[in-house]
Symmetry: none
Subunit: 205 residues, 4 copies
């Protein structure tokens, strides 16, 4: 956790620091990111950095948590209006909500994506249970599909969920411009195509 000195900072400076950190951790892995570049970009003395944060990891963890909270907050709305839909309609809405979140918080997305490429060790340390929970949520949703006769009860839901989360990584990479940043339309079409493939692939009959 950042020290309270950080929260006592005036908002402009706090923002400057967070922006510099997002920029740094969005474009470098945790280990390659440097405090020196962050303080330089934020235009604060290096000593100040350690007045605000315990360590480089402290700041990183803060960013990750911020990102998760923000995304959770954002997704809550989407999740509520999903209730009525069938299971694939819900997944589609979930993805579209994710896309809107990404549009509004591209750097947060980049930080998270970089974390996904880190040591398993670091991931576990920072994400704790939340890593698995993403896939578990998908599996849960698919199970409801089975109960509603939308999904073949013999389908391997665990594999399907992995396919979804893995393809999501690809989407994020694409979104972040790796290798190329396509337009929103193109993007939403990809989401729909994936959902359609899975819908057909898993549906009863």
């Amino acid at each position: 956790m950042p020290k309270k000195t950080f929260y006592n900072l005036d908002k402009e400076k706090r923002t400057r620091v967070l922006d510099a950190a997002l920029e740094e951790f969005g474009s470098h892995s945790f280990h390659r990111a440097t405090v020196s570049r962050i303080v330089e970009r934020a235009d604060i003395p290096k000593g100040s950095f350690y007045q605000y944060f315990e360590s480089k990891k402290d700041l990183y963890r803060h960013l990750i948590e911020m990102s998760q909270e923000k995304k959770f907050e954002f997704m809550k709305g989407a999740l509520e209006e999903m209730e009525s839909e069938d299971v694939f309609g819900r997944l589609r809405k979930l993805y579209r909500a994710g896309f809107r979140f990404a549009e509004q918080n591209p750097r947060l997305l980049a930080v998270g994506q970089n974390l996904m490429k880190e040591d398993a060790e670091l991931q576990e340390e920072l994400l704790e249970e939340s890593l698995a929970s993403g896939e578990d949520f998908i599996i849960g949703t698919l199970k409801e599909g089975v109960e509603n006769d939308e999904i073949d009860p013999n389908a391997n839901l665990s594999v399907a969920a992995s396919m979804i989360t893995q393809y999501n990584l690809k989407l994020v990479d694409i979104f972040l411009g790796t290798p190329l940043n396509e337009g929103a339309e193109e993007f939403l079409k990809k989401i729909d195509s994936m959902i359609d493939i899975l819908k057909n692939g898993l549906s009863k009959e």
Copy 2:
């Protein structure tokens, strides 16, 4: 490219160096891998390293290329006997061949997997077109499926191909023991499940 001095080395030494490098780049990302550990493990002087290679990256690039060639060589056989099958049967065989390759070359696999987690920048530099080419091959195969009336011509083949390659990353992670190393059987079952989902998902009608 390694310098010609490297190729002048007797085979035993060359192997020792490559083995040490595989070990290092298989267990560390490019940036965290150190030349010191490689030369120590290979039991060669540090100066020699730079007689053989231009730089750390030079060796890394060589490993990546070697790995790709070796895999290509290995897959050629599998590809030939795939001719007769239908498209999903071929994909299944492709994956099973990939699995056998992985079993025989786990460290090569690890190096490649680590590269997938690197900076986009580094990936582009080292993989050049070959990154896309893997996906292109899948797309080509799927296209044949369309022509043979096995696949719905309206299906988004590019998305399907991405789903396949992305899920492959997951399989490799599982294979390499992250997060858990399951038995071969379990493994092949996952492959089959994925193929089945896609088969249903993409098939005409």
Copy 3:
């Protein structure tokens, strides 16, 4: 010397600061003690610290002087009732009084002991003449023993006095639990043994 702002503080706060300082300098050498920990423990702002004291050393010096005064005050009583005894009886009482002081002011003792392990430079700066004066007092006492025919006039009193003060350091270390904190009884027995050895060692005949 502390600034007058320190003396303007209400007693409770002043005590809090001194306690925090005793704790810190009792458990760390001067150089390893940190102002940050002191202000944190005393629950005062860091800026205030420098309102009260010129520097870390200023506070340290104050503590040392306080400690010496307090000990001197304490010992005065013991010294008075020693008059009637022979010289070794007096030394014994001196030590026992020192032991009681230690029991009542263990942290003061620890601070002093830590100082004894500092750079000679720092010691000289802070202790000035008082270092020697302890030994001089012992020598004075021994001289009286010579005059009273209790001590051999040829004995090297300076060496004897050093032996006493040096052994005292050992006792303090033991007392402070380094390497092991024995019971009071054991402790007093050691004092007696030392006195006995010296008594025999120095006595006439």
Copy 4:
């Protein structure tokens, strides 16, 4: 242990590094000693330091061990010719030998003396059993005195041994010029006086 690169250095440079280290650790405690000053004095790049040693502590440990070995080597001779003497004669010779060693290796002495003023933790880590063994050796010698009827069997040998080792610290301080460096004669007289006091103090009758 220093790395083998250190031992491969030409003697002049190796000496320069060791001299710089002795100078640094002789005049500063382990924690206050800095690698920067050492490399500056030795006139080597900082990177080289870490080619030669694992860490600051590695070098320090080496110095301590060197010092102990050297002293042990030196003392062996003295110990042998002590056989014939009575117990106090032996202690006297021991001290005189120690003094000669000090004269020839004053900086080694200073390093050791600084270590005695360190954290108990650091001492234990670096000295392991050898710390206690010094006092044990003295006790053993005194015990022989008891067996030979030279020492009162009721004497507290443990206290006597502590007095000896503690006074030794004082002697070393004096020798190293803290507070003042006296002549050799004066010095030897102090040793004799201490031995005499103990001899009388412990002798039977």
